[in-house]
């Protein structure tokens, strides 16, 4: 079973890397970009066929390691 965990910075947390990317896009002439926030994507393969079980497992993985919930949010998508 395939799944994706997306980790993003909580709103209000300063993201200097996102700001730098935003500036670089502007200097490249990519018009209309008003804000960039950088995050992480984890593509994960897991044993089993029960999506609910997979989601619970990945939430555990995110809470324990993939995200620092002091500053980050995460989203679990079981692709199937």
């Amino acid at each position: 079973m395939k799944a994706r965990v997306t980790v993003t910075l909580k709103s209000g947390i300063l993201d200097p890397q996102g700001k730098a990317i935003e500036g670089a896009l502007r200097s490249l002439g990519v018009a209309g970009v008003t804000s960039v926030r950088q995050g992480k994507v984890f593509d994960i393969e897991i044993d089993g066929a029960d999506p609910a079980q997979a989601e619970a497992l990945l939430k555990q993985a995110a809470d324990k390691l993939l995200a620092n919930t002091v500053i980050e949010n995460y989203k679990v998508d079981v692709v199937g």
Binding site: I13, L14, P16, Q17, A20, K64, L65, N68, V70, I71
Partner: protein
């Protein structure tokens, strides 16, 4: 002083730390590999040194914070044992949840390696008894992620409980954004846990202890710890 220095893959300041602990504490520390499950018997100070554990993969300190030895550090701290985390060691303690908050990318996005000034806020802790409250010391920093942040409740609690022990300051002790090189909230350079037996700090006091290579302002931290532990023994 019976210190133990934790060693993770990618750590690179463990020998500086060991040299300082031997110089000031009088005996070489045990070097403890991350796969160990126990600190050596009789350990009275656990030190997590600086470096780039696991290449800063995922987040600084994130992988090291989940290593087997950290369970031993957690219970050692819960039992009142003294724990010092410097630089990556501070990041690891935060990632392990032993200290609150997180160290973010420096505000100017650069890795900063230079001397800074620190105001010592308190002298009544095992880590700062070698200094006077309000004293300014000069120590080096070398980090890309030293910008301390926590939610506003946590910051209020840290400040209210006097758990901010070091702040970046001017040479005469003024707290000023111009002297806060990494942008840390409230110029926080080092904090204690609630019990006061765990200190995390970004600067490297272990690198300023020998007159032959420069200032010796870092000595006070280790001399104070040695004195505290000698009295407790």
């Amino acid at each position: 002083m019976k210190a133990a220095v934790l060693v993770f893959p990618g750590i690179n300041r463990e020998r500086d730390m060991a040299r300082t602990l031997e110089l000031i504490g009088g005996r070489p520390p045990a070097m403890v590999w991350h796969t160990e499950r126990q600190l050596p018997a009789g350990t009275d100070l656990a030190v997590i040194p600086g470096g780039f554990s696991y290449g800063d993969y995922l987040r600084c300190g994130a992988i090291a914070a989940r290593a087997p030895i950290m369970a031993a550090v957690r219970s050692f701290a819960a039992g009142g044992g003294l724990v010092l985390g410097v630089c990556n060691g501070f990041q690891i303690l935060c990632e392990a949840g032993i200290l609150p908050g997180v160290l973010m990318r420096n505000q100017n996005l650069r890795f900063i390696c230079r001397e800074v000034y620190l105001k010592v806020e308190r002298s009544d802790t095992p880590f700062t008894r070698g200094y006077n409250a309000g004293q300014v010391i000069r120590v080096p920093v070398a980090h890309g992620e030293g910008n301390y942040i926590a939610d506003s409740e946590t910051i209020a609690r840290l400040e209210g409980e006097g758990r901010v022990v070091f702040r970046y300051s001017s040479p005469d002790g003024m707290i000023d954004p111009n002297w806060n090189h990494n942008g840390a909230i409230n110029a926080i350079a080092g904090i204690l846990n609630a019990r006061g037996n765990v200190l995390g700090m970004m600067p490297h006091p272990e690198n300023h202890v020998e007159a032959s290579i420069g200032p010796t302002d870092g000595r006070g931290l280790f001399a104070g710890l040695a004195e505290h532990l000698a009295r407790a023994a």
